[in-house]
């Protein structure tokens, strides 16, 4: 990579990114308002009693009595000043609501991501090295199984085995509430709660990475430069690591970039089944309640992260493969 080109590249990409995010904000705004119903009618529905004054008060409080273009302008203006707005429904700032959920989400998605990448690449490399033998068959069959199994089913089965039958792990939540655990005990407690949801979320990607790594490694293994290295007498381990795996990693990085973009979005399904207090559920519940500011705030954060990770992936290509240039 020529470092001299980097600042210009970054500047151009960042300008594009800002425009893309702004376009997303406007699209999202119209999208969420296109859903029938509004927060006031939802709250009236939930309260089991309502009168016209109640709806009018709420709509005024929520700013929904303003014309749509005024609401859009107010929202874009506040986003531009990095203010994500206020959830009148929950009586809290959107940034605070998201920040409250973000650690839980990052912990879950981060753990699943690390598990998937490390496990997947290792298994894929192992399978490629032992291609055609029983270890390869075992890994391939397992990967195919996880790849094809629906997420919620994996979750349910894990709960059935580890929570109901073996009683080793808790079936829901992020921590044991009310025990007042601190320090190491608290960390272990969270880890116990994290295991099942992270496995559930990670297994699919683990399978994807394993299959990708195996396939590309097999492809690279027969290329001339590998044969040359072997002829030079380079040890087999070093050939795998430095020559085969490094060249096989590009598709894996592409895919990891996509998965990393979803880190902040969380997973509605896994968070719901395991009662994990993450962003995915926040967004889903905001959608059901028509809590527009929260929904838009989550969309905004995820779009920013996706754009940033795309950029990071591009940079990483150049780092892993010197033939790729930033331009």
């Amino acid at each position: 990579m020529e470092l001299g080109k980097l600042p210009g590249f970054l500047a151009r990409r960042l300008v594009k990114a800002v425009l893309v995010v702004l376009a997303i904000v406007v699209c999202n705004f119209f999208l969420v308002h296109a859903a029938p119903g509004d927060p006031a009618s939802v709250m009236a529905g939930q309260a089991g009693a309502a009168d016209p004054l109640f709806l009018e008060q709420l709509r005024r409080q929520f700013g929904l009595d303003q014309p749509m273009h005024v609401q859009l302008w107010i929202y874009v203006r506040s986003v531009l000043s990095l203010d994500l707005g206020f959830s009148h429904r929950q009586q809290m700032g959107v940034a605070a609501l998201i920040a409250e959920r973000l650690p839980a989400t990052l912990l879950l998605t981060g753990a699943a991501f690390a598990f998937a990448v490390v496990g997947g690449v290792t298994l894929g490399a192992l399978a490629a090295q032992r291609v055609g033998r029983w270890a390869d068959s075992l890994i391939t069959v397992l990967a195919l199984t996880f790849y094809a199994t629906p997420l919620f089913w994996v979750g349910l089965m894990l709960v059935l085995v580890f929570s109901v039958w073996l009683e080793w792990l808790p079936s829901f939540g992020m921590n044991s509430v009310g025990l007042g655990l601190t320090g190491l005990a608290h960390v272990l407690d969270v880890a116990k709660h994290l295991l099942l949801p992270a496995l559930t979320l990670g297994l699919f990607y683990l399978a994807v990475y394993a299959r990708l790594t195996r396939a590309t490694m097999l492809e690279v293994q027969d290329q001339d430069f590998v044969r040359t290295a072997r002829a030079k007498g380079v040890p087999e381990g070093r050939i795998t690591r430095a020559h085969v795996l490094r060249n096989a990693l590009l598709p894996v990085i592409t895919f990891a970039g996509i998965q990393a973009g979803q880190l902040v979005g969380g997973s509605i399904l896994v968070e719901t089944v395991f009662a994990w207090p993450g962003i995915g559920r926040l967004a889903f519940e905001a959608l059901l309640a028509r809590d527009y500011p929260v929904l838009l705030g989550v969309f905004f954060c995820t779009s920013v992260i996706v754009v940033l990770f795309n950029l990071a992936t591009d940079l990483l290509y150049a780092l892993v493969d010197p033939r790729v240039e930033v331009a």
Binding site: M43, A49, V164, E167, V177, G178, P277
Partner: protein, 526 residues
């Protein structure tokens, strides 16, 4: 032992439940944390500002009203230790408990009661607004007496003083502020046995024992933790594995109840909803042809087997409806019943209405907006589709989410849907709103169906203003007959919700409020 005896002597209002506990041979034990569930997670916990089901469950531990109600809807003392009603039914005098403190240490006085009843609730809660508008004058002759003088006699007035309808809130934390955005909304302060401790959104709400609670020695529990568990199967599992000791309301789907009933460590109670008496019905939009024809509505009613719904879909949780007024409500008339399940008579009625079946055997097609609150309502929709097919009516199911449902029903943009409403113990409070012409409004939970009958309007008005219970009974019996003859809506079932709890948890359901009582007498045996 001495502590226990003192508790018994001092806590007079809790005597009945203590006596019950004694009768079972279990003395209340102090200590322990109750872990239960909260579904769905409410946006704020300040009662009044938010009145959805889960808020009422949790807020009634932190807030109390002047009264509570027995399973037969007799008033019980809570923050009011006694009360009198003038012979003309216009003057209500409440004597308040002394030594009641808010969680911030300030004493609760008549001022707080008057503020809550005449300012706070009428401003934020539609139901309170309609009823408390009848108060002509509120006075506090001394710090522990409140006198409400009504513009006219209103016999069901006392029913509005339960903690779920009119909790007493601290005047000093709300007066002069916007009640919806006051800081206290985020950190609720009430007089209840448990005070707000912590809320990790999406995870749990923790309430701790309020040490200065006005009943000495109570509450027994150290803490109550409400865990947010969004998936119904996870909630079921939490009960089965002992990760939670109590479920309420919609936490457990009816079809999971039989399995839980057979677990030796769990107990299932179906009572404790008498005050609310929720009644479910097929809500027909009378503006959509041919649903405006009473013969058609009667035929559809006869096409439905209510016993099947209660026994096969709800597994016996609930009772078939007998009319517009639930049987656990005051002024239910047990002599009046809906015509029974009879598909042949239904077909004859539809023929008489001129709705002949076409070549495919279809008389007409209507849509059904499935209630989006839980899985069970889709199953009901599927049953209704089958049942109506028997009489040549095609029902097309439309699925939706809560926001769209509320909007579409509020805007009258539906053919049929399911609705269920709390009746609050008295038809004037909970039934009238769904049938009177003056309440036909573009708002959910008004008379959205558009039924209108001047005689029904007149009878509801008479029952509202009559000060003598017997007069009201006569009006409600007549109105029941008229509504059944017109089949204003197709009442399906008197709903009940299972309260499922660990056997070691005692005194869970003792009043007509069930899990909405303060839990100051709930305890865990070791």
């Amino acid at each position: 032992m001495t502590i226990r005896r003192r508790t018994m002597l001092a806590a007079a209002p809790a005597l009945t439940t203590l006596a019950e506990a004694r009768a079972q041979g279990v003395a209340p034990r102090r200590g322990g944390t109750l872990i239960t569930m909260l579904t769905p997670e409410p946006p704020v916990l300040q009662i009044g500002v938010n009145n959805q089901g889960p808020t009422l469950v949790i807020a009634t531990k932190m807030f109390q009203g002047l009264l509570s109600f027995s399973p037969t809807l007799e008033p019980l003392p809570v923050l009011a230790k006694s009360w009198t009603i003038s012979p003309d039914g216009r003057v209500y005098t409440f004597r308040l408990q002394e030594n009641v403190k808010f969680h911030d240490g300030r004493p609760m006085t008549a001022d707080d009661v008057i503020f809550s009843i005449t300012k706070f609730h009428p401003e934020v809660a539609p139901r309170a607004r309609a009823i408390f508008a009848l108060i002509d004058n509120a006075a506090a002759p001394d710090a522990h007496t409140v006198v409400f003088t009504l513009k006219q006699a209103f016999e069901p007035f006392l029913l509005m003083f339960d903690g779920s309808a009119a909790a007493i809130v601290p005047k000093h934390l709300f007066d002069g502020l916007d009640y919806r955005t006051a800081p206290a909304v985020q950190r609720p302060v009430g007089t209840g046995p448990f005070r707000f401790a912590e809320w990790q959104r999406g995870n749990f709400v923790k309430l701790d024992r309020f040490e200065d609670y006005w009943k000495p020695g109570q509450p027994y529990l150290d803490s109550i933790i409400y865990r947010v568990v969004p998936d119904s199967q996870s909630r079921r599992l939490a009960l089965e594995t002992g990760q939670a000791q109590l479920s309420q309301a919609n936490d457990i789907e009816p079809f999971d109840v039989p399995a839980l009933r057979s677990r030796p460590n769990l107990e299932v109670a179906l009572n404790g909803w008498e005050y609310f008496s929720p009644l479910a019905w097929i809500e027909l939009n009378h503006r959509v042809a041919p649903l405006g024809d009473p013969r058609v509505r009667q035929a559809l009613s006869m096409a439905v087997d209510r016993n099947f719904i209660v026994q096969r879909l709800w597994f016996g949780i609930g009772r078939p409806a007998t009319g517009p007024i639930a049987s656990s409500s005051r002024f239910h008339d047990r002599n009046q019943r809906l015509p029974g399940f009879d598909a042949r008579a239904a077909n004859a009625l539809l023929d008489a209405a001129g709705l002949r079946p076409n070549a495919q055997g279809v008389r007409f097609t209507i849509k059904h907006l499935v209630l989006p609150y839980s899985e069970i309502w889709s199953r009901l929709g599927e049953y209704l589709r089958q049942a109506f097919r028997q009489v040549g009516v095609t029902l097309e199911l439309e699925s939706t989410d809560a926001g769209s449902w509320a909007r579409r029903v509020g805007n009258w943009e539906y053919d049929t849907t399911i609705n269920f409403l709390y009746q609050f113990g008295d038809p004037t409070l909970g039934v009238e709103r769904s049938y009177v012409t003056s309440n036909i409004q573009r708002v959910t939970f008004t008379n959205t169906g558009g039924y209108s009958n001047p005689r029904v309007d007149a009878l509801f008005a008479a029952a509202r203003s009559a000060s003598v219970a017997a007069e009201r009974q006569a009006a409600f019996s007549d109105v029941t007959k008229l509504l059944i003859d017109d089949m204003a809506q197709i009442w399906l079932m008197e709903m009940s919700f299972p309260t499922i709890h660990d056997r070691r948890l005692r005194n869970v359901v003792t009043t007509g409020l069930g899990v909405h009582s303060s839990f100051d007498d709930v305890f865990l045996t070791s």
